[in-house]
């Protein structure tokens, strides 16, 4: 199952990064700004978290900094519909 693969430790991290986008869970976000502060391309990730909007910004390089640094577990990668292959 596609979802179980995310739990699988040997899942290909790069496959997820390149085919995914940063998705916020607004209910966890406290608007601290660590995400925006660390974004190397200057995306206001915090604002996306306020609005509950996935980051569909053309500048997002899915570097993973925001996801890794969020102290509240707000952000995760999810595979986009556009480019994923069928199982």
């Amino acid at each position: 199952m596609k979802f179980l693969r995310v739990f699988n430790r040997s899942a290909n991290k790069h496959a997820i990064l390149t085919a995914g986008q940063v998705v916020p869970d607004s209910a966890r976000c406290v608007q601290c700004g660590i995400c925006t502060y660390n974004c190397p391309v200057g995306i206001d990730v915090r604002d996306h978290a306020w609005r509950g909007e996935p980051v569909r910004h053309s500048h997002c390089i899915t570097c993973g900094e925001c996801v890794a640094r969020c102290p509240r577990g707000v952000l995760r990668f999810e595979q986009t519909d556009l480019f994923s292959k069928e199982d």
């Binding site: 199952m1 179980l4 608007q31 700004g33 577990g73």
Partner: protein, 436 residues
């Protein structure tokens, strides 16, 4: 229509957004006495550790505020004349209102010991407090931290990041005993020790000592003294109910409101840390000191003020925070009883977390990847996830949607059950309908 909001925290800001979504024409006034305006209060912890500059804590620019079209009044509310529909401020000016929202928040319960008014005795409510802590922190010098819950650890971590020798005093025998179980408390305490914090158990400050008006030590209940340059306390917060009480509104531990965030006066609403909100599901009125519920309460109050009758459906309380550097998710009901280090509710806390009904516990993890579940008859009532957070989101959904976990209940309670794997599989099988 004239809307007046007291308080520039997230509840007040969310209320403005809600009012504007329903009423483009009405006039909105925000009365606030925090000189820094609207910022992320929870983010102050990361400012203390140096992970953020203070400027990064402000989610809104001046332009964003202009777009919302409201008048900001810097001032302190002193009295509400309800019959006249007028709010009085400390500078003796008056602000008439049609609908009023009280979103003044909660303040740290004062440290009620002799010497608590000495220079160097600090708390963490606002940006000003955070700046004071940073200004007074001295590398290599000792500091004493008193209290429980999340804020005590945030201050501890901040002072450690500034190189102080921190002594953390616990009155009880373990940290946050009414939310965490023994094992979890010990995980946190172990990490604190590894980070160079000295823990003292069954230790109570009887007096703060000083010289020339400045702190130089504390005397404990057992007579022992600890020299220090700084004393920080976080023994809980108290909703700021004085204004409401003096105005004749119904007040309990907070300003009591119904599920529409309406006080005992139909034209006055309350939201956020100051509000004690009625939950129709449980029939109880609960205090929360959590950012997202404050935002949602503020938003719902704003809608109701603008005539869009909307009930606030209280979800099971949910918080993800960092305790001693360990990301920890706390959902629903997990603990019970009283914590001796907290005189009232802590920040980032919820009264629901300690109302433990008859529940079974399933747990796994003997290092810093820990999952503890509180099982009801058919559903999960609560969960703690420490360390690896991959189950945090699935558990949040399973608990908030009251998913029937009967298919896995027995397996979860079996000795040495691999709780994490069982939940992950269960989530994968039912997530298609729930993942939203």
């Amino acid at each position: 229509m004239r809307y007046v909001i007291i308080g520039s925290g997230v509840a007040g800001i969310a209320a403005i957004e809600a009012i504007r979504s329903a009423d483009r024409e009405g006039e909105i006034f925000l009365v606030g006495d925090d000189p820094y305006g609207f910022y992320s209060r929870p983010g102050l912890a990361y400012y203390l550790t140096g992970e953020l500059h203070d400027k990064a804590l402000f989610p809104r620019t001046a332009d964003d505020f202009r777009r919302l079209r409201f008048h900001y009044i810097k001032g302190r509310a002193t009295q509400v004349l309800r019959a006249e529909h007028v709010l009085h401020l400390a500078d003796e000016s008056s602000v008439p209102y049609d609908r009023l929202l009280i979103a003044m928040g909660a303040h740290a319960i004062p440290l009620g010991v002799p010497g608590a008014d000495l220079d160097g005795v600090l708390k963490l409510d606002h940006m000003q407090d955070a700046k004071r802590i940073l200004k007074q922190a001295r590398r290599g010098k000792p500091a004493v931290v008193i209290g429980g819950g999340i804020t005590a650890l945030e201050i501890t971590e901040g002072l450690r990041a500034r190189g102080m020798k921190v002594h953390y005093l616990l009155r009880g025998d373990r940290y946050w005993s009414n939310v965490l179980d023994e094992h979890e408390s010990h995980i946190i305490e172990h990490r604190l020790r590894e980070d160079g914090v000295t823990l003292h158990h069954h230790a109570e400050v009887a007096e703060v000592m000083g010289t020339k008006g400045k702190v130089n030590g504390v005397r404990l209940g057992n007579g022992k003294t600890l020299p220090c340059k700084l004393v920080a306390y976080a023994i809980g917060v108290r909703p700021q109910v004085e204004l409401a009480r003096q105005s004749g509104l119904a007040v309990d531990r907070g300003i009591t409101v119904n599920e529409y965030l309406q006080t005992s006066d139909p034209d006055i609403f309350a939201a956020g840390d100051v509000a004690q909100v009625y939950d129709p599901m449980s029939g109880r009125s609960i205090l929360d000191t959590l950012w997202n519920p404050a935002r949602e309460q503020g938003y719902t109050a704003g809608l109701n003020m603008a005539g869009r009758t909307t009930a606030y459906i209280k979800p099971p309380p949910f918080n993800v925070t960092r305790l001693a550097g360990l990301t920890t998710t706390i959902i629903g009901t997990v603990g019970s009883g009283r914590d001796h280090d907290l005189a009232g509710i802590a920040r980032g806390d919820s009264e629901t977390w300690r109302q433990l009904p008859d529940a079974m516990v399933a747990q796994t993890g003997f290092d810093v990847n820990r999952v503890r579940l509180l099982l009801g008859e058919k559903t999960l009532l609560g969960a703690i996830v420490m360390g690896d957070q991959k189950l945090s989101f699935p558990l949040q959904k399973i608990i908030s949607r009251h998913v029937d976990i009967s298919p896995i209940r027995d397996r979860l309670l079996a000795p040495n059950a691999k709780v994490g794997d069982i939940v992950a599989e269960f989530w994968a099988s039912c997530s298609a309908g729930l993942k939203s």
